[in-house]
Every structure is written in C-alpha cells, then in structure tokens.
Amino acid sequence: MEGWIFFAVLLAIGFFFGSRAEQQHFRDLQRREQALGGLVISVVGAKVALPDAAGAELFVGSVVVSSDYFKTFVAGLLKLVGGRIGVYETLLERGRREALLRMEEAALDWGAERVVNVRIQTAELGGNNGQGIVALEVIAYGTGVR
C-alpha cells in the first residue's frame, strides 16, 4: 500500500513539475528563436564556394535532456501497444531546438551572418539495459561564416 502511495506521489511530481518545466522551456525557446533575427541556417554548403566570406569557424551547441518520471511511465505503457510516443517526441524536440539555439547564439556572438552545413545528432546516454535514467544528448554543429 505504501509503495503505491509513494509511486503515485512520484508520478504526480513528475507530471506537475515536468509539464510546467516543459511549458516554460518551450516559451523560452520561442523567445530566444525570435531574438535570433536574420541568422540564416543551412544544411548545405560543404561543397559550395563562399567567395564573399572573410572568415569561418566551427560552432557546437549541445544539451543533455532527460525524461521525467511521468513521461517514462506513460512511455512504458505506450510501448505495450506500440505506435506514436508523443511524450518522447516533445522531449526530443526540446533537445534539438535547444542545441540548435546554443549553436546559433554562439555563432551570433562571434558575428556570423549565416551558419552552413549544419549537422544535428543524437546520442543516448542512459545505457542499453532498459534501467536507469532516460537521457539523451543532442549536439548541433556547423560552420559560422561572416
């Protein structure tokens, strides 16, 4: 019985604080994305000559995001029936946008007009044994050009 109460409390903490943190994070992301203004991001550019560019430098943005207790539980249930796991989709979106933003902000500080050849990749950190925390690292990197 006490076990169930403890579990319910953890679930409630995960749900309330987790979704509040998520909403805050999304608002923060939106505000910072608007503040970036005219910085152009492109995925091509590796093989294109950039005759007007005076300097280039590599910029990397990275973030480790983790799932909350509620999400992990819901995902566990959803895995029984398969299909879309919406709770993890928002988690990955947060990670990806945050990593991109960090790269863009670093590039802007340096004075970049655009960032070319942007690459985004994700690595799982929680280990493969199905236990422990659900955490993943997202990194975004590209060449800032001015």
Partner: protein
C-alpha cells in the same frame, strides 16, 4: 556553451565544410582525430537521478560532455599541429555510449595547410 574551436594553445581554424573561406588550401595532410572516454561521477549521477524525476536539462551531464568534447578536439588539434597543419576542414563529431555511465566522444577531420 560551445566548444571553442580556437583552443588557447593554437591558432588552428576548424570548419566542417570543405574549404576555409577567405583562404586557399595549399596542402592536404591527411586525417586527424581525437577521442575522449568519460564516465560520469557519483555526485553528478545522484543529482541527475533526482533531476530525472522532473525531467529537463541535466546540466551536469551537458558540462561533462562539453569538457570531454573539448578534450577530444584539443587532441585532434595537437595531432594536426604535429603534422604542420594550420587548419582542419570537414570536422565531424560522433558520440557512442559504451555502457551505462560512460560515453566516448570522438572527433575527426582533415588537416590542411592554408595559404
């Protein structure tokens, strides 16, 4: 919050495109690489375990991996300098999680001389 591509010891330019804008590549010196395997330590692990209840960014891990990536980059830069390079183009990053609690950060690129 970013890997500084110009590490304090060097003036090597890093890009992940095939050229260095504003200069011409005069010589290719081959592949250079650097790697770093890091394990998280207990204090950070406990903090992360608590943070995992409410989710969100795990700052301790973000920093840990950034330090590791910086170290890998520094090693790559050192190798490039030994070859006499002054720039590295086409830099790529890779991360693999070895076991729970340890990750390898790997970075590689092509060392070049620019004129």
């Amino acid at each position: 919050m970013t890997v500084r591509s110009r590490s304090s010891a060097s003036n090597i330019i890093l890009t992940n495109i095939e050229t260095i804008p504003g200069s011409t590549i005069t010589q290719h010196l081959g592949l250079v690489q650097g790697s770093s395997v890091r394990a998280k330590h207990l204090g950070r692990d406990i903090a992360a375990g608590l943070k995992n209840l409410v989710g969100g960014e795990l700052k301790g891990y973000t920093e840990l991996l950034q330090e590791a990536r910086q170290e890998a980059t520094d090693r790559m830069v050192q190798e490039a300098q030994q070859k006499g390079a002054n720039a590295i183009v086409n830099v790529r990053f890779a991360t693999s999680s070895l076991t729970q609690g340890a990750a390898e950060l790997f970075v590689y690129g092509t060392a070049v001389r620019v004129g």
